[in-house]
């Protein structure tokens, strides 16, 4: 029994700290936040133009993978780079912050603890350098 347990543990990717991932409610929790986020960026007039041409289905899958990965969950983000994805969108600071606000709203709606929200944002924030082109 002990040997089987050890083999199972060896099979799963080792993540030293998945506390933030768990605070989000794991895979299900992250997907719920992401699904609301994708709906909300279309609803908000500040962010709508930037997402007009995006494939929502792909967005929901890739964002969930990315959030899972940066929060210490058992995922690997295998999508395109932030630079490549955002290169033609002419995103400025105001647009970037508007997206952050929409994400904050989605996390708030699902009761993600404020500290965990900030821990996700701390991983995403530096991406402004590759995402903003204006």
């Amino acid at each position: 029994m002990a040997i089987a347990g050890t083999l199972l543990m060896a099979a799963a990717p080792a993540h030293a700290d998945d506390a933030v991932y768990r605070a989000f409610g794991g895979a299900d929790g992250i997907q719920r936040v992401v699904n609301d986020f994708v709906a909300d960026v279309h609803a908000d007039p500040r962010t709508r133009p930037y997402f007009a041409k995006a494939s929502d289905k792909r967005l929901r899958i890739m964002l969930a993978k990315q959030f899972c990965s940066v929060t210490g969950g058992p995922c690997v983000y295998d999508g395109s780079s932030m630079k490549a994805v955002h290169s033609n969108l002419k995103i400025d600071r105001a647009a970037f912050n508007a997206v952050v606000e929409v994400l904050q709203g989605a996390m708030e709606k699902h009761g993600v603890p404020f500290r965990a929200q900030n821990q996700l944002l701390a991983k995403l924030a530096p991406m402004y350098r590759d995402i903003e082109t204006r």
């Binding site: 400025d92 600071r93 105001a94 970037f96 404020f114 900030n118 821990q119 944002l121 701390a122 924030a125």
Partner: protein, 297 residues
């Protein structure tokens, strides 16, 4: 009675800033109050710059981002056991790079005025024009580095009670404070830290003039703030500000406060603090309440 030129200079500078700001507004997106995240413009500190309550931060006031401008108006009220202070002013942030502020303070000596031989309720009026320039960094978004947001600033202060200031031994009724601030939001810990280094010769922030018998030169003073974000809308924190001792008869101590700031929206923020100012003009251990409101548009 002739009008002193200083208010007109302030007014012209302010109008120039407002006109410049108008052209930025015409160029920017339609966003009404601007693209910065809540509370990341700080509140208005006692001299009118964006920051905490006592000390200026490296953040640029207002919610305008790089392509925008933001305007805040603020009013502040302080009451200790023996003194009161009222202040109001306006702060303009341009392109998240430059901040200009105009502020007017009234320092009411209340009953202490009698003790000081000035008369009950004698008041000192001070005008402050401030400018701040963000030099490098992004306090909020550079979450993967220790590099803070850094700004340099200056505050020109003019106290209107020149004759009385002369009588109490101050060497001047106006002066300029120069400062450098470094501000960092440790996003993963929900903690904001600020350190400020200021060169000043102001007595009680300038309310008792500039320079004195003990010292008449600019001296280095240290200031700091630490705040914890409880939620998107609420922050609590503490501040510390050193003050020089230029007047022999009116020794000063360092100032401290503990504050709570609440921003229900980008249009309004309220700050409440308990403030300790030490001795003021010979009357000991002044401490009390600080209340400030800021409105943005």
């Amino acid at each position: 009675m002739t009008l002193s030129p200083a208010p007109f200079l302030f007014l012209r500078a302010f109008l120039a800033a407002a006109l410049l700001g108008q052209s930025f507004l015409a160029m920017s997106a339609e966003s009404p109050v601007g693209g910065k995240l809540l509370l990341t413009g700080g509140v208005s500190q006692i001299e009118g710059a964006a920051g905490g309550g006592l000390t200026p931060w490296a953040v640029i006031g207002g919610y305008g981002t790089r392509e925008q401008f933001g305007v805040n108006v603020h009013t502040t009220f302080v009451r200790t056991q023996d003194y009161s202070l009222g202040a109001y002013g306006v702060t303009v942030g341009l392109a998240d790079r430059v901040e200009l502020s105009l502020s007017r303070q009234r320092f009411d000596t209340r009953d202490a005025g009698t003790t000081l031989g000035l008369g009950r309720g004698y008041a000192f009026d001070q005008n402050i024009a401030g400018a701040k320039l963000r030099v490098l960094g992004d306090a909020v978004l550079d979450a993967d580095t220790w590099v803070p947001q850094v700004a340099i600033g200056a505050q020109y202060k003019h106290n209107e009670q020149g004759a009385i200031l002369d009588a109490i031994g101050a060497r001047g009724d106006s002066g300029v404070d120069y400062y450098v601030s470094a501000t960092k939001l440790l996003l993963a810990q929900s903690i904001l830290l600020n350190g400020t280094v200021r060169m000043t010769r102001a007595n009680q922030f300038g309310l008792l003039g500039f320079g004195g018998d003990l010292n008449n030169r600019h001296q280095l003073q240290l200031e700091g703030s630490a705040a914890y974000l409880l939620s998107r809308q609420v922050a609590v924190g503490v501040e510390y500000r050193q003050k020089p001792n230029n007047l022999g008869f009116a020794r000063e101590q360092n100032a401290y406060d503990a504050f709570i700031a609440w921003a229900p929206s980008k249009h309004v923020s309220l700050t409440l603090a308990w403030l300790s100012l030490g001795d003021i003009a010979t009357i000991k251990n002044q401490s009390g309440v600080y209340l400030s409101a800021q409105a943005g548009f």
